[in-house]
């Protein structure tokens, strides 16, 4: 008992020292704001990393109505026939995330493991990504933008971006904020 008690802080410290060479982290926090509207639908949200030429380095998260109008897990895709059983298909509003759709969405088949999930209620959501692991993948050194886009049925659309350099030299916390469909967006990057 005693040796392990001593060893634990030591191994944690070693871990911390070794971290820069092993894995860089990218943490994203997305706030879906409370809106005072008569008819509220949860927004569709896409989070991705854009290169300087605006091409997409990685798709981090897409929240849409996965189960609408079809059996779970068989939601229609950007590139697959939609609607079973007379439903409209939850992908119907994906093109409303119009920047995401233009840059990457229209070429994808959803759902995507580890990227797509159901829409979320009002709140703050923390997402953690690691270099070399899906969905972030291997991000080459360079300048990027974190893009967060939200579109809501019977509501508006908003795009918030945060520029960052990868890999970070030191731990950084970058902030931006939406005005209508998105609240505070935080990007934490660790070397």
């Amino acid at each position: 008992m005693k040796p392990s008690f001593v060893r634990t802080p030591l191994s944690l410290a070693l871990c911390g020292l070794a971290a820069p060479a092993v894995a860089a982290d990218l943490d994203v926090s997305v706030q879906i704001p409370q809106l005072d509207v008569a008819e509220y639908h949860r927004p569709y949200v896409a989070v991705w990393v854009e290169r300087e030429d605006r091409s997409v380095a990685s798709n981090l998260a897409v929240w849409y109505q996965v189960k609408r109008g079809g059996p779970p897990g068989a939601a229609p895709a950007a590139g697959a026939p939609a609607q079973q059983a007379g439903g409209e298909g939850g992908t119907k509003w994906l093109p409303d995330l119009r920047q995401w759709w233009r840059r990457t969405g229209r070429e994808l088949t959803v759902p995507i493991d580890g990227v797509t999930s159901a829409t979320k209620p009002v709140g703050e959501y923390k997402l953690a990504f690691s270099q070399g692991k899906a969905p972030l993948g291997e991000l080459a050194p360079g300048k990027y933008k974190l893009m967060v886009e939200a579109a809501r049925e019977d509501g508006g659309r908003e795009l918030v971006d945060i520029a960052f350099e990868w890999p970070a030299k030191a731990r950084q916390e970058l902030k931006a904020s939406g005005k209508s469909e998105l609240g505070a967006i935080t990007l934490g990057i660790a070397p």
Binding site: A77, G79, A82, Q83, G89, L94, R98, R102, R106
Partner: protein
Amino acid sequence: MKISLKACAFGSAFALLLPLAAQAHKPWMEPSKTVLSVGQWVTVDVAAATVPFIKDHVGIPLDNLVITAPDGSTVPPENAAKGKLRSSFDLQLNQAGTYRIANNNTNISASWTEDGKPKRWPPRFVQYTPEAFAKEVPAKAKDLKVTQVISRLETYVTAGKPSEGALKLSGKGLELAPASPVNDLYAGEEATLLFVIDGKPAADVEFELIADGSRYRDAIGETMLKTDKNGALKITWPTAGLYYLSAAVTDDKGEKPAKQRRSSYAGIFEVLAP
């Protein structure tokens, strides 16, 4: 009087029947959306009016409507109806890629003077046949002009990623070339549309560009643009919305018995906010 008024209205609506007259009424289409995901429906209005997208004149018959799917096959419209002020139909986008919706026509028409009065043939919606032409058009009429008319009215809608499979050329008349980004257009960005005539670059052709919403402006606000020597038309879209792009080229390449040829293109494009 009533009949002649009607004939005048319809004649001008279908410039293909009045090749030498000014094109007073423009044929147009209005797709409900052009950038969609697979499985979604679009609905399209088809009409002719003095100003594009204004429903105040006549619906165009959909007999010549050809919808080409991304794989190059032809798909039928659903709920097609000829309306008083506009015709319409629905289309479900079951394939991924770009669909071309076209209402094209090729015809031969004649105009001449008889007893001091202008005459024309064929009447509205009547297709040229050599037999009817020989019967109806006097061979030695005064001021006889015989013109072949090739008219294209097209719009494009895309499910998922844009593709070029539906944009194959016929090689006849003025056409949009497949490499054009028909459903990848954004306000404030420059797009290059490529045009060909008989399959070759349509150089120095003047196009007219009209944005939707002219009813709520003081002026139609048309912009004149010209293709370069490679048939490339560069457009920087000022705002998001629907646009009507049209041009007509007159030459002497008409098929017999026509001498002249009038080849027209009208395309409807949706431009999105970036």
